[in-house]
């Protein structure tokens, strides 16, 4: 079937009428997003469509463009299927390489920025940054302990200045911690109350976001953030939950059991945070403390 195809590609809207060469109409420069985000169609493109062959139906590629075209045109228009898309793409002229590259990079930067802007991604970024920072700080401390500089030498001077840098890094880490905890309390209030905000953020980072976290079973949650198995015979154990401060306060031989219970409560907390947005924190904390007391009594 012969049809007039309309397609937005590489910053232009193209009108592809049967039997005529493709005509391109540039969309507003420097903007990203589809034609609706750019204040509608260029007037010349609209004129070309009004003058299009009345015998050939107008088929538009993409729902967004279709909405724009249909609202401005008196004729009925159709939505392109995959075959029509393929035909339209095949009829387009090759883009100018330098302009294409510049536009693609600009669009990629804008898309990435938008994707990382959400509170969820902010939380994941902060948590990963904090973990990375904690590791490098520990490494630095250990190296500093092993370093001995004779008094009055160049080395001692270097060492003193390096200590100042480390102090600044510690300040930076504290700042990072504050931001992270505030963000975790906002996004995951129940989980933060239950296992602490830093552990909550680490869980979200290990799961790769809030939605995947909310889909996980308690047993998955318990093992999130494990880095290796303690030995080939034993399964992984030391995940974010096991290393939480609340578990740290329990005696060694009761920790695994407590981590298991805590993971079960964490699964409830995450679902409340992400899906139902209810505040269960008081109940969850009470159940957690009750469980801990029972474990301690039974252990003695």
């Amino acid at each position: 079937m012969r049809a007039t195809l309309v397609v937005a590609h590489a910053g232009s809207v193209y009108v592809l009428s049967p039997g005529t060469p493709p005509r391109g109409f540039e969309l507003a420069k420097g903007r990203t997003g589809g034609p609706t985000a750019q204040g509608g169609l260029p007037p010349a493109a609209l004129d070309a469509l009004r003058n299009a062959d009345p015998g050939a139906p107008i088929v538009v590629c993409g729902q967004e463009l279709l909405t724009v075209v249909a609202s401005r045109l008196a004729r009925p228009v159709g939505l392109a299927d995959r075959t029509a898309w393929h035909v339209a793409l095949g009829a387009l002229p090759a883009p100018e390489p330098r302009a294409e590259r510049a536009a693609m990079l600009a669009r990629a930067r804008a898309d990435l920025d938008a994707a990382l802007r959400s509170p969820e991604e902010l939380l994941v970024s902060l948590a990963r940054e904090e973990q990375r920072f904690g590791r490098s700080e520990g490494r630095e401390e250990r190296a500093a302990e092993a370093f001995v500089a004779p008094v009055g030498t160049v080395l001692a001077d270097l060492d003193r200045r390096w200590r100042q840098v480390r102090e600044r890094l510690t300040e930076h880490h504290a700042e990072l911690d504050r931001l992270l905890e505030a963000e975790a309390r906002r996004s995951l209030p129940n989980l933060s109350a239950l296992v602490g905000p830093r552990t909550a953020a680490r869980l979200a980072a290990a799961a790769g976001g809030l939605a995947p976290l909310a889909r996980m079973s308690a047993s998955r949650l318990q093992l999130l953030g494990t880095r290796r198995r303690p030995s080939p015979e034993r399964g992984p154990r030391y995940g974010a939950i096991y290393l939480a401060d609340t578990v740290d306060a329990v005696p060694d031989d009761r920790r695994a059991a407590f981590a298991r219970s805590l993971a079960a409560l964490a699964a409830i907390a995450v679902r409340a945070d992400v899906l139902t947005h209810r505040d269960l924190s008081a109940t969850l904390v009470r159940r957690r403390d009750l469980r801990r007391e029972r474990l301690l009594r039974r252990g003695r």
Binding site: W85, E100, L105
Partner: protein
Amino acid sequence: MRTAVRLESSPGSPRLRSRARGERLELWTETVGSPPPVYGERWAAFGARTYRAFEPVRSKLAAAIVRDWRGPLPAPAERWLYLGAATGTTASHVADLLGPDGRLYAVERSPRPFARLLNVAERWPNLLPVLGDARDPIGYADRVPLVDGIYADVAQPDQVALVVENARLFLRDRAGMVVVALKTSSMGRTLGAPAHLRASEAALSAELELAPSVRLDPFYRSHYLIGGTRGRPQRADGPRPLPRRPGKEPGRPGRSLRYRRS
């Protein structure tokens, strides 16, 4: 500092070279981008050109070439679509094979790896990054033109179906090429790897004339490289054997070449 090396030409592509190191075969691609290295790979000068080591343990495409892949490969000045580009390890080598006049449209869905891919794209003039979901090709159809080939490394249960979707939308009709790095362990545990391979080959053979699939052992467990061309089964220049040491039995590269993971 870049060292100088002696490299042999390779039948796969004019921009691909190889070097025999003991019983191993090293692959190198002529770089389009500028330093620093993308993922810590070695750079070396050969004549007036700069090459980057293309290691089978880092890239499924390199593993397949070492395992005697006879199917399509990216050639200079072509346009290819790369689904699942991640941080750009293999994507940078595919861009190398396409050369400065080629174009690689690299699609990646998750933002964090994409940030690193974007860094690579800044230094690789022919690599164009697209933040999009390969399951929804219409989502990036406003930027990607018809292409000569599609390389997919997506590791999802529906990886072959989404490649077919993309091929129907973006692959040129005559002699369009498709290469899929198949991770069968991501496709379900109820069937074994050979069964997944057969099912994938059947799904692709409706669209393409398939080249012989290669298994990527010992570099990747239960992975295969499958693919082919619309309307013709193999590369136009026909398959030529990869260079190997004299005295070795031909045609059995997996047995005659020993590899160690480094």
